[in-house]
C-alpha cells in the first residue's frame, strides 16, 4: 500500500470525520508538510465548516479572503452569506432574466424572492467557491477542512444536484427560445445562455475532480470511539458510492499506555479495544495512527504533529513531569436549577465532539425520572445520529419508548427520508393548485416539465426544514411536555435555529404571490399546509425566545478551539434571543499524579479560567473526563449525577 498521501498527482485532499476528531489539525498539518516538501508548490487550505477553526489552528486570523500563511501557502474560511451576496451581484441579472422569461412571475415577485436567504447556503456556496478556484487554476493543491460528516456528505453529493438546477434553468430558457424562434424565426444566444453554459462547465469540473481517482483523495479522520467508528463506516460507504477515492484513514488520539496511572490505564484498556475494531473494520485501508498529545495542537506545535503524521519522527510521550498539587474535587449539581423550571425545550449544543449527545441523553433520562408526570422526548437533528448508541437502543426515525423508563421517548429525525415523503404527499396538491393555472391556455409543454423538474431538485437544507416541521407538528400535537434536543455541531445548529425566521420570510413571499395570483392558483390543501407551517413556526419562535419555556445549554471543552466556538455560539444565541445561562465544560482531566494528565490538566485550567472570565453571568458546569465511554443507562446515570447532583434513584424517589 502506498505511503500516506504520497501520490504526487494529488490536486485536492479532503479531510472529513466526526466533530472533534482532529480534521482541522490534520488538514493544516498536511498543508505545512507539503509546503515544507516543496516550497514552490502553491497550496490553499480552505474550510467549508460554518464553524471555522483554520485560523485557530494556524494561530492567525483568516476569514473569507484568501490569506497568506507563508510564501505559497494560503488559508480561506468561506463565509457563505458574503459569497452569496457576491454571487448575486455578479450573476443576479442573468438569473432574474431567466426567471422572468421562464415563469409567470413579474419582476417584483422575482426581486422579492431574490432578496431572500436560502437554506443550505453553506454547502452550495462552498461548491461554487471551489468551482471558481478550479477555474482560476491558481493553486497546485487544495486542501479542504470540512464540516462534520453528515453535512460533508451533502456537500460532496451537491455537484450532481446542482447540475439538475442548471438543467432546470435551461428548461426555463427553452420556453423563451421556443417563443423567440416562433416569433422571430430564429434564436440568438445571449448572456443568460452564457451564464447557464459557464455554470454547467464549472460544476462539471468540480464533479469530475471529486471522482478523479488520482487527483482527489478523501482522508477520513476517526478516533477510537464507537460513534466515530460508526460515522467513518457510513462515510466510507457513501464516498465509495460517489466514486471518491479513500486510501488512508487517520486514527487520531490513540492513547499510549501510561504505566503507573490508573486513570490512563483504564482509558487505554478501553480505547485499545476500539483501535482493534478499527484495524479489523478498515483492514483494506492505510491506517495512520496518531497519538493523543498531552497538549493541544495548534500554532507552532502543528509542525510536530505533521512530522509524526508523515512518519518523519516517532512520538515520544512526555517524561514524568512535575506533579500538580491535588486540586479540589469538581463541584456537582450545577445544572440542578433546570429541574425547578417548567421548560418545554432544552437544547444542547456545542462544537463537534464535546459530548453533546451524552449530556442530552443523560439529561433527558434524568428529567424523565425526576418528573414522572411529564412525558420527555429526546430527539436529534444531527444527520449523523448518535442517540441510539448513547442510549444503547435502536431508535431511528420513529418515536421510540426507552425501555425501563415509562415517560421517556427518543427520536432520530431523518430529514432526508421526510423530504422524500413530503415530495410524494405534495405532488398531488401541487398538481391541483396549478390545474386552473395550466388549464387557462397558458400551458405549453415546457411548463409541465418545469413543474415536474421542480419536484426533483431540492436544495440542501430542505431536510433540516423537514426536521423543523416535524418538531412543530409534535409541539402542536402536545403529546410531550419536554423536548430535549441533541443538536448538530454549532455551525449548522445556528443555521437550524435561524431556520424558523428564514422560513417565515419565505412563506410571507409565497403568501403574497398566492394572494396576487389568486384568480389563477386555487388556494387548496397545499395552502392550508403552508399556513399551518407558518403558524407552527410562529409558535416555535415564541417558545424558543421564552426564558421560562426554553433553556439552551452550551457545551464546550477546555481548549482554544472549543472556547472560540463557544464565544461565537454565545453571540449567535444572544442575537436569536434564545435563553442560555449554563455552560458545561466537559472532559476535564481529574487530578492524578501522572505527567501526561498533569500537563493536560494544567493546560485545561487556563481555558477554564478564560471561560469563567468571558461568561461571568453563566453558571459554569464542570464535568470530569470519565475513565470509560458514556453509553447505556448506567453510565448516563453517573453523568447525570454529576450534572444534577443527585443519583437517578434519589431523583426517582423525590
Amino acid at each position: 500500500m502506498a505511503a500516506f498521501l504520497s501520490n504526487p498527482k494529488l490536486k485536492l485532499i479532503i479531510f472529513g470525520g466526526k466533530g472533534g476528531s482532529g480534521k482541522t489539525t490534520s488538514a493544516t498539518a498536511t498543508a505545512l508538510h507539503f509546503h515544507k516538501l516543496d516550497p514552490k508548490k502553491r497550496i490553499l487550505v480552505m474550510s467549508t465548516d460554518p464553524a471555522h477553526s483554520l485560523g485557530d489552528s494556524f494561530d492567525i486570523t483568516i476569514g473569507n479572503r484568501v490569506t497568506p500563511i507563508k510564501e505559497n501557502l494560503w488559508g480561506l474560511e468561506i463565509d457563505s452569506s458574503e459569497l452569496f451576496e457576491e454571487y448575486k451581484a455578479e450573476h443576479g441579472e442573468a438569473i432574474k432574466k431567466i426567471a422572468d422569461r421562464g415563469t409567470y412571475f413579474d419582476q417584483d415577485d422575482i426581486e422579492d424572492f431574490f432578496n431572500k436567504t436560502l437554506p443550505g447556503l453553506d454547502e452550495v456556496m462552498a461548491i461554487i467557491r471551489i468551482a471558481d478556484l478550479l477555474k482560476a487554476g491558481e493553486y497546485d493543491l487544495i486542501i479542504l477542512d470540512t464540516a462534520p460528516t453528515g453535512h460533508t456528505l451533502v456537500l460532496l453529493s451537491l455537484p450532481e444536484e446542482m447540475e439538475k438546477w442548471i438543467h432546470l434553468m435551461d428548461m426555463l430558457m427553452q420556453k423563451h427560445r421556443y417563443i423567440m424562434k416562433r416569433m422571430v424565426g430564429r434564436y440568438k444566444r445571449d448572456e443568460c445562455d452564457e451564464f447557464i453554459d459557464s455554470q454547467q462547465k464549472d460544476i462539471s469540473r468540480v464533479r469530475q475532480l471529486l471522482s478523479h481517482a488520482t487527483a482527489t483523495e478523501f482522508v477520513p479522520v476517526t478516533i477510537p470511539e464507537p460513534m466515530s467508528i460508526a460515522e467513518t463506516e457510513r462515510a466510507v460507504k457513501t464516498l465509495k458510492e460517489h466514486n471518491i477515492a479513500v486510501n488512508s484513514i487517520i486514527v487520531n488520539r490513540v492513547i499510549e499506555e501510561q504505566r503507573g496511572c490508573s486513570f490512563c490505564s483504564a482509558r487505554w484498556a478501553e480505547k485499545e479495544e476500539y483501535v482493534r475494531e478499527i484495524e479489523q473494520k478498515f483492514a483494506h485501508y492505510n491506517l495512520v495512527k496518531m497519538p493523543l498529545f498531552p497538549h493541544q495542537i495548534r500554532g507552532e506545535s502543528l509542525a510536530e504533529y505533521a512530522q509524526v503524521l508523515f512518519g518523519e519522527r516517532e512520538y515520544t510521550p512526555p517524561p514524568r513531569a512535575e506533579v500538580l498539587p491535588q486540586a479540589p474535587p469538581l463541584p456537582k449539581g450545577r445544572l440542578s436549577d433546570i429541574l425547578e423550571k417548567e421548560l418545554s425545550f432544552l437544547i444542547f449544543g456545542g462544537k463537534g465532539g464535546v459530548g453533546k449527545t451524552s449530556i442530552a441523553a443523560a439529561s433527558a433520562l434524568y428529567l424523565a425520572q425526576h418528573k414522572p408526570d411529564k412525558k420527555v422526548l429526546a430527539f436529534s437533528t444531527d444527520p449523523a445520529h448518535a442517540l441510539s448508541d448513547s442510549l444503547q437502543q435502536h431508535i431511528g426515525n420513529q418515536i421510540t419508548p426507552i425501555s425501563g423508563i415509562d415517560n421517556l421517548y427518543a427520536l432520530e429525525i431523518d430529514g432526508t427520508q421526510m423530504l422524500e415523503d413530503f415530495k410524494r404527499d405534495y405532488r398531488d396538491d401541487i398538481d391541483e393548485a396549478f390545474e386552473r393555472f395550466l388549464g387557462s391556455h397558458m400551458d405549453i409543454k415546457f411548463d409541465r416539465e418545469i413543474l415536474k423538474e421542480l419536484l426533483v431538485v431540492s436544495p440542501p437544507g430542505l431536510d433540516e426544514l423537514m426536521s423543523l416541521q416535524k418538531i412543530t407538528d409534535l409541539m402542536k400535537e402536545g403529546d410531550y411536555d419536554l423536548f430535549a434536543l441533541d443538536s448538530a455541531a454549532s455551525g449548522h445548529l445556528i443555521r437550524f435555529l435561524e431556520l424558523p425566521h428564514l422560513m417565515r420570510e419565505w412563506l410571507k413571499s409565497i403568501f403574497r404571490l398566492l394572494i396576487k395570483y389568486k384568480g389563477m392558483v386555487k388556494l387548496n390543501r397545499a395552502t392550508e399546509r403552508l399556513l399551518s407551517l407558518s403558524q407552527n413556526l410562529r409558535k416555535i419562535l415564541e417558545v424558543l425566545s421564552n426564558p421560562r419555556g426554553t433553556e439552551f445549554v452550551m457545551i464546550t471543552i477546555a481548549e482554544e478551539m472549543g472556547v472560540a466556538e463557544m464565544e461565537d455560539l454565545s453571540e449567535s444565541l444572544a442575537n436569536l434571543r434564545i435563553p442560555c445561562s449554563h455552560v458545561v465544560i466537559n472532559m476535564i482531566i481529574p487530578p492524578t499524579d501522572c505527567g501526561f494528565c498533569a500537563a493536560k490538566r494544567k493546560e485545561q485550567q487556563r481555558y477554564i479560567r478564560e471561560i469563567e472570565a468571558k461568561l461571568p453571568h453563566h453558571t459554569i458546569v464542570p464535568i470530569p473526563l470519565l475513565p470509560h465511554d458514556i453509553r447505556g443507562v448506567e453510565h448516563l446515570s453517573e453523568l447525570a449525577g454529576i450534572m444534577y447532583g443527585k443519583t437517578m434513584a434519589s431523583a426517582k424517589k423525590s
Binding site: 410571507k508 403568501f511 394572494i515 389568486k518
Partner: protein
C-alpha cells in the same frame, strides 16, 4: 303578447341565474373558504392584527351561515 310573455319569462330566468351566481359568489362555501385562507395568509404576513383577523373571520362565518339559511347552492 305571447312573445312579450316569453321574453319576460326568459328575462326573469336570466335575472334569477345572475342572482344565483351572485349569491353563490357571495355565500358559496368554496368561495368563503378561499377568502378565509386569504385572511389567514394576511395574518401570517403581519398585514392584519389578530383583532382585525378575528373580526373579518367572524364576518365571513356569519355570511356562510346566512348563505346556508338562504339555501344558496354551494353554501349548504
Amino acid at each position: 303578447m305571447l312573445l312579450t310573455y316569453v321574453f319576460l319569462k326568459s328575462l326573469r330566468g336570466i335575472a334569477g341565474k345572475i342572482r344565483d351566481m351572485a349569491e353563490e359568489e357571495y355565500y358559496g362555501e368554496d368561495r368563503i373558504k378561499q377568502q378565509l385562507l386569504e385572511l389567514q395568509m394576511r395574518l401570517e404576513m403581519d398585514e392584519l392584527t389578530e383583532e382585525e383577523y378575528l373580526k373579518a373571520e367572524a364576518a365571513l362565518m356569519e355570511r356562510l351561515e346566512e348563505g346556508r339559511q338562504r339555501g344558496v347552492q354551494g353554501a349548504v
